[in-house]
């Protein structure tokens, strides 16, 4: 299964979809617990085993969910685990040696269900671009199908009950991975983050060394899961994201007006380094890919497609790299191999459908 996965990029990488130059991916996650079983952090092995077997029964009874794979913790190696984390299919702390955990992944990797994570079930739908509605439909439909067979913990006042009270109610987290180099370069980002957090939207940047945001990537998600319906939560996030996209586009225009040469230089230098470097760390790749992505968005560069960039972003991560080249590597060796992979992908070899 893993060999197949590494060769075939996940469907969310395709780089099409609304505003996919700025919004990289959309994700919906719903948490559910099966009634009368302690939540996984408080459950013993027998209870967890029973939860896993109840899920398996539900899966077997549900024709729409049969097309996929169920992986159980005992069968997954460390490298496989990291690979799944890098592919956004499981959370980083999942499948780390705990018994009776599992993950169900559908064929095109748009749906994954973690079993016995912090909650009994974490249903997740993932797609490229701004596609929260589509993700919600898939997650919600799956939740309803499972809910006809499994009885979920629910309280008429508090909603769906979860291990952590931050998830109670809808149990739903809607999140967007977004690329905001314009707002970072114009230094407007902080004001925008402050504004968002005031309206209960969580924004996370990813910091590398010092204060630079790694790859100019941000995660926007709903802070609260209670007090609003699923649709209201989706609408809020979608509206906020659309506003941010407008602001980002405006920032890019300003940059191009005021500092065209510097910006174009940055983009072409990034392209040059990626095309010719012999060693690349994963942080460096992330930052250089950010410049390339900006270059595509602004029409500066047409030699590369979003699809290629997304593919490199995923494949250049440590576990993917080792799976791709089919051997174990230390950090130094990975840097060399990473540079090799980037050159390969940018020279158009081994690339998948570049429809851009």
């Amino acid at each position: 299964m893993f060999d197949e996965m590494v060769k075939k990029p996940a469907s969310w990488l395709s780089g099409d979809g609304t505003n996919s130059g700025i919004v990289i991916s959309s994700r919906i996650r719903q948490a559910r617990n099966i009634s009368n079983f302690p939540f996984p952090p408080a459950a013993d092995e027998i209870q967890k085993e029973k939860v896993l077997s109840l899920f398996k029964t539900a899966l077997a009874k549900n024709p729409s969910l049969r097309k996929g794979n169920l992986l159980i913790s005992a069968e997954v190696t460390d490298l496989d685990r990291t690979f799944l984390v890098e592919r956004h299919l499981i959370s980083p702390e999942f499948l780390q040696g705990k018994a009776y955990q599992g993950v169900f992944i559908n064929k095109d990797e748009t749906l994954s269900i973690m079993i016995n994570e912090e909650d009994h079930l974490r249903i997740q739908a993932l797609q490229g671009g701004l596609k929260l509605q589509e993700c919600y439909q898939l997650a919600s439909q799956t939740e309803e199908e499972l809910g006809k067979i499994l009885k979920f913990d629910y309280d008429s006042e508090f909603g769906f009950l979860t291990s952590c009270p931050t998830n109670v109610g809808t149990g739903m987290r809607a999140s967007i991975l977004i690329h905001l180099p314009g707002l970072v370069l114009t230094r407007e980002i902080e004001g925008i983050i402050n504004q968002m957090t005031k309206s209960s939207i969580a924004v996370r940047g990813f910091y590398g060394e010092g204060s630079d945001v790694l790859g100019n990537l941000f995660q926007i998600s709903n802070q609260n899961t209670l007090g609003k319906s699923e649709i209201e939560i989706l609408d809020t996030i979608s509206q906020v994201v659309e506003q941010v996209v407008v602001a980002e586009k405006k920032a890019r225009e300003t940059l191009y007006k005021d500092a065209k040469d510097q910006i174009e230089d940055k983009i072409w230098r990034a392209y040059g380094i990626l095309k010719h470097a012999r060693m690349l760390s994963s942080n460096e790749v992330m930052n250089l890919l950010s410049a390339l992505r900006l270059g595509i968005g602004c029409g500066t560069i047409s030699q590369v497609s979003l699809n290629q960039i997304n593919e490199i972003l995923v494949l250049s991560q440590p576990a993917h790299l080792q799976k791709y080249f089919n051997r174990q590597m230390d950090a130094n060796e990975r840097d060399t191999t990473r540079a090799e992979l980037v050159r390969l992908k940018l020279n158009g070899k081994g690339k998948s459908n570049t429809s851009h």
Partner: protein, 166 residues
């Protein structure tokens, strides 16, 4: 600045999040950030709740009335376990600690009332089983509310027998 988790290495990863108008900051070394998945740009990590809980003064201070702490009859956790872990043990904890929960949810979400979807109901054979389970659960809830923990434990065992038949 030292990593606040291992307190050994230099903090290289700095995260700030505003939770209900309160700024919460995390300073971690690369290794600890990796462990928590903070280096992975794709992963949404819920901010450590324990930090948030710590900022809620009063709510979580154990009431020292000299009485023994109330424990959930289903999972055996007390509210102090929740304060420590930031996680409830089971669905019945929400009944057992009902007096504290609206205030807690209010602090986290700004409200304590669910407005979203409700669960599905099954059909056929499953429905009968479901209704049986639901009745026992309702009884369990009533017993916990009345603080009749002996009865609650009995019902808990009946539920166990029922679900083991599944």
């Amino acid at each position: 600045m030292l990593c606040q988790d291992c307190k050994k290495k230099d903090a290289k990863v700095h995260l700030t999040q505003i939770v209900n108008n309160e700024k919460v900051t995390l300073n971690l070394c690369k290794e600890c950030a990796d462990k928590k998945g903070f280096q992975n740009p794709f992963e949404v990590q819920v901010f450590p709740l324990t930090q948030l809980l710590a900022s809620m003064s009063g709510l979580l201070t154990e009431k020292k009335s000299g009485k023994e702490e109330k424990k959930c009859p289903v999972c055996g956790n007390g509210f102090s376990d929740f304060s420590k872990l930031g996680r409830f043990g089971c669905g019945s904890c929400y009944v057992t600690f009902r007096s504290q929960i609206p205030e807690l949810l209010q602090k986290i979400h700004g409200t304590a009332t669910h407005k979203g979807k409700s669960p599905q109901t099954p059909t056929g054979d499953l429905l009968k089983h479901w209704q049986e389970e639901k009745k026992l659960q309702d009884d369990l809830r009533k017993a916990i509310e009345k603080e009749d923990f002996e009865k609650a434990a009995q019902i808990r065992d009946q539920i166990k027998t029922l679900i083991n038949k599944k």
